[in-house]
Amino acid sequence: MNNLIVSPTALAFAVVLVVIALGINLKEKIGLERDMVVGVIRAVIQLTVVGYVLTYIIKVNRIWLTGLMVLIIIFNAAMNANKRADGIPHAFWISLLAIATSTLITILLLVLAGAVRFTPSQIVPISGMIASNAMVAIGLAYRSMNTSFHDQRQGVLERLALGANLKQASAHIVQMAIRTGMAPTIDSAKTVGIVSLPGMMSGLIFAGVDPTKAIMYQIMVTFMLLAATSIGSVIACYLAYPRYYNSDMQLTDRNGSHQS
């Protein structure tokens, strides 16, 4: 594992890469320089803090502490997914339930199958991977639902007018949102190995693990992410779509459209 050491000098040189990206951004007037600087500073602070926290958690190896770390990851993921909800009522709680369920079910199955052990060094990184993928999927699904309920408002109204219940009136939008949410994970599963060599597999190979064993882990991760994004998107979408209606089974005005 010694070949994995990145010295502070090496990291300082890597900053040059950020400067290049910033230079391009400024020259082309893309307007992302503030976000890039904030992103870099946050990444450094967050990863440094989490590095020390992980070292401590792995060292003390307590179940409650590992569980707490997983809950913090899930909470933060839900906070982030909520930002993509653009005003869907109760989106934080919906996201929390969806991400918690998808993460915990996936981890439980992996632990029961013996694929991972309930140790902080395995549970915390895997929870992070699952929760982050579920978060992205749910965020995309929310965006898709917001766009569709806005653009296809008339179609939804007509379905309601024909006597559809809320599920029947929204089914096409919910299906599209779930597809949109899962698309990156499915695309990634399709191209894994031929386009990308994912982080976990690359990390293991870097660390000197036999590539065939690293691949076995990556296959597990791919299946795990497919399951997690699927469970997360389905739960989030099915809990979110009724929020577009009022108690009289009418579409609400929250998308800025007007009923008259």
Binding site: E158, R159, L160, A161, G163, A164, N246, M249, Q250, Q259
Partner: protein
């Protein structure tokens, strides 16, 4: 006198600060053919949408067949009080997708022969069932949408300027179909700007500035 199918008492509707309808009281008898006229923006469509439960009045009460609207499960009510849009949106890819929907929401298997007979009733050919909706003309779309509303006979048909923009022949087809439903006891309330339709109205009601100008009488 039989019980009215709609009993509207002191109906008002306000959207934000805008008063769109106020103090409307009327009764509509079962089987009536009521034509609703009035200037654009006077609240005619809002009135129909309230009758269809697509909007909830902010004042007053609407009773349907003797019971308050709110007492009915909305899907059941809307299947009986069918609202047709001025510029309908068709669903899915083909005409078939649209005609399957009324069956799906009633948990019934699609009855192709019933769908074909319904298409025939608006002079659309059987081959149109699998035609992509993007290939349909405006008049064909309106007829498919009307068929979609009428595959299962409702008690009330609410027509929101459905013949606006249609050619004379298509209007004739649509009017004949609606007439046949009227003769079978369906109550029809239609909003229109068409002078010919207004002149031929059995029973005319005018809404102006959100108020009922002439109450309907049977």
């Amino acid at each position: 006198m039989t019980e009215p199918i709609f009993d509207v008492q002191g109906l008002g509707y306000q959207n934000g600060g805008n008063r769109i309808l106020e103090d409307m009281t009327l009764q509509v008898e079962k089987g009536a053919n009521l034509t609703i006229a009035g200037p654009s923006g006077s609240g005619k469509s809002t009135f129909l949408r309230i009758l269809a439960t697509l909007l909830t009045p902010t004042q007053g009460v609407v009773k349907f067949a003797g019971k308050k609207q709110s007492t009915y499960p909305k899907p059941i009510y809307r299947q009986q009080v069918s609202y047709c849009f001025q510029q309908p949106t068709l669903f899915g890819e083909t005409v078939r997708d649209n005609l399957k929907f009324p069956f799906e929401i009633r948990n019934q298997n699609f009855d192709e022969s019933k769908a074909l007979a319904a298409l025939d009733s608006v002079e659309l050919k059987a081959g149109m069932l699998d035609q992509p909706i993007i290939e349909l003309s405006g008049g064909e779309k309106q007829r498919v949408a009307l068929v979609r509303n009428l595959l299962f006979k409702p008690q009330v048909l609410l027509l929101d300027e459905i013949s606006a923009g249609l050619d004379v022949d298509t209007k004739g087809v649509v009017h004949r179909l609606i007439q046949s439903y009227r003769e079978n006891g369906v109550t029809v309330l239609s909003v229109t700007h068409d002078e010919t339709e207004i002149a031929a109205a059995d029973n005319l009601l005018t809404i102006r500035d959100g108020k009922l100008e002439v109450p309907a009488h049977e």
